[in-house]
């Protein structure tokens, strides 16, 4: 609000609040549905009202979820965390070093590389997946975790973000002063620059983490062994089975409960880390 008393405020803002209320309802309904549906047994899932509770069956669903197919769901959960954690760590480390190198050094080909970096951001990721699959299959690397982790290390945007951030927030004079004190380049990077770019690094880490956690196309193409699947690919295979069996086996309730458990960690992380998302958005300096 720009001005005025509290009464003034309520009088002027009822319309935006009604619209925001409608928005909250729209964004929340599917999430509410999955929470409610995860508490239902398969028969209740089919027969009871969709947006209200029936018999509380959540704990049985979770127990069954982790036992179905020899407990493969737990493996998918671990795989997802492992792939996205490794990818995010690696991509952030690469972006940190490259962003610093581009912002505070000059070397042959730097300008060309910086121009190319902007172009790389525009290359659609999925166009790279099939060719990468063909190359990795020549190298016998498909159907391993590296086929998912290594291509996920590529984050031109991350390098770009760090570069912009270093330019604005890490004074060149500070680095020069450390050089006069005869600190090694590696030590300057590790002890001075890295702590200063923490906000940008958290942002890059979170983006890569979410992108890999939610990725479907890459693991779908790269992996054929069910034990290696992340949650996204695993849940769709269960869903296919559930569709084909037309409800003979208790699988729909597991797909729903499995979906819920797949999104809970990220939603919690989002709510807790919201300020980093916004600071990341601001760090890109859209001015």
């Amino acid at each position: 609000m720009t001005s005025g008393t509290a009464g003034d405020t309520t009088a002027k803002t009822w319309l935006p609040h009604v619209l925001m209320g409608a928005g909250i309802l729209y964004f929340l309904v599917p999430l509410l549905w999955v929470v409610i549906a995860a508490t239902k047994s398969q028969p209740d899932l089919l027969d009871s009202p969709a947006l209200w509770f029936a018999d509380f069956n959540l704990l049985e669903n979770i127990e069954q979820l982790f036992h179905e197919d020899g407990g493969v769901y737990g493996g998918w959960l671990v795989n997802t965390a492992l792939y996205s954690g490794l990818s995010a760590l690696g991509a952030t480390a690469l972006a940190a070093a490259a962003g610093y190198g581009l912002a505070r050094f000059t070397f042959l080909g730097k300008r060309f590389f910086e121009t190319a970096l902007l172009g790389m951001i525009m290359v659609p990721a999925t166009a790279l997946v099939l060719p990468t699959y063909l190359i990795l299959s020549e190298l016998d690397l498909v159907n391993t975790m590296w086929a998912v982790v290594l291509p996920s290390l590529l984050s031109p945007f991350g390098a770009y973000l760090v570069r912009v951030y270093v330019d604005e927030s890490v004074p060149a004079e500070l680095i020069d002063a450390a050089r006069i004190d005869r600190a090694s380049e590696l030590r300057i990077f590790w002890q001075i620059v890295l702590p200063m770019m923490r906000p940008a690094l958290v942002t890059v880490f979170l983006f890569t983490l979410v992108a890999t956690w939610n990725n479907y196309f890459l693991p779908l193409v790269m992996l054929s062994d069910a034990d290696l699947y992340p949650l996204t690919v695993g849940l769709t295979t269960w869903f296919n089975t559930a569709q084909q069996d037309a409800g003979n086996r208790m699988l729909f309730n597991l797909v729903v409960t499995g979906s819920l458990l797949a999104i809970v960690p990220l939603v919690i992380a989002f709510v807790l880390l919201q300020r980093f998302w916004r600071s990341g958005a601001a760090a890109g300096a859209l001015k």
Binding site: M1, P30, F107, M120, L128, T132, Y216, T232
Partner: protein, 321 residues
């Protein structure tokens, strides 16, 4: 929709080259302060290697593969641009391309329009309710596209969802969200649900960076909040808006996950429903890797050119005004 590029985007101008004058220092002091070409290159090297291995080489390999064809009778032989001629005369691909373009022409303005309205509202209204709205609108971004598509698939279906049977309460016919006439709308809703909040946060962050002085005078002159929003704030974040458009276009052209999941609910989602789905099926259903490589390369190139042209045009426009 798949999207790899996160929230923010390149700034308005090209990266300014940091001018580092070469320093002339006496010989006995060998450590120059501002230029360390070897160290700098070493910092960039690991990233550069990943770029080569997972961007340059795959694109090159795809292009090389796309120049030959494989058949049982003739084996692998060089066919030049044959695969590209085939692609751009392939009615399945052209159908899919047209479908995605039509989809984008409707879905992108609707989604970004809502996102912009939401961002302007958040910028003007700072109640706790607005805070809750901001948080909840962003939540779908944390939901994997697969799970989002599955959830909406369930919600659309007559057996699981509450919506399809709503018209029967007043004596109407149930809605078939998977019918040919509604399928694109149903898909559009899934994408809108997933990405509106994300775009809203980008635009909201850009609005937060607009200096208050820019519209203080307008406030004193008695301009309404809506006038200020449309005449001052929207032009001030034009750059952020066009970047949101670019990244949404890039994401839409790669449309894959939602239609692929929806195919389980709606059998008319064919192997060539979107170009990316077609490229995938050429490789994994028909084992035609050469044609698939050509499709991937052509699609990537097309997206790249469209995105770059858009950046170029919006920059020139920005420079003129």
């Amino acid at each position: 929709m798949t999207r790899s590029s996160p929230i923010t985007a390149p700034a308005a101008d090209d990266l300014p080259p940091s001018p580092r004058p070469v320093e002339h220092r006496p010989r006995r002091k060998p450590r120059r302060v501002t230029e360390h070409p070897v160290a700098g290159a070493l910092f960039v090297l690991p990233f550069f290697l990943v770029v080569v291995a997972f961007l340059v080489v795959p694109l090159g390999y795809a292009f090389w593969l796309s120049l030959s064809s494989k058949s049982l009778a003739l084996g692998t032989r060089f066919t030049g641009i044959g695969n590209y001629v085939r692609a751009f005369t392939d009615p399945v691909l052209l159908d899919g391309l047209l479908r995605v373009v039509l989809f984008g022409l409707v879905q992108i303005p609707v989604m970004l329009g809502i996102a912009l309205a939401g961002a302007l509202t958040l910028d003007a209204v700072t109640t706790r309710f607005a805070l809750a709205f901001r948080l909840i609108a962003f939540m779908p971004y944390a939901v994997p596209a697969v799970v989002g598509a599955l959830m909406w698939g369930f919600l659309y279906s007559r057996t699981f969802g509450p919506f399809a049977d709503l018209p029967t309460l007043v004596g109407g016919d149930p809605i078939d969200f998977f019918s040919s006439s509604l399928l694109l709308v149903s898909l559009g809703n899934i994408v809108t649900w997933a990405w509106t909040g994300y775009n809203m946060i980008i635009l909201y962050s850009a609005l937060q960076g607009v200096p208050r002085e820019m519209y203080e005078a307008a406030v004193i002159d008695g301009a309404t909040p809506v006038q200020i929003a449309l005449r001052v704030k929207v032009p001030a974040i034009r750059q952020a808006i066009s970047l949101a458009v670019i990244f949404t276009v890039i994401g839409t052209m790669q449309f894959f996950t939602e239609p692929q999941i929806m195919a389980r609910f709606a059998p008319q989602v064919s192997a060539g429903y979107t170009p990316n789905l077609y490229a995938y099926n050429q490789a994994f259903a028909y084992s035609d890797f050469n044609y698939s490589a050509a499709l991937s390369f052509a699609l990537g190139f097309l997206v790249f050119v469209v995105a770059y042209a858009f950046v170029f045009v919006s920059r020139r426009r920005g420079a003129r005004s």
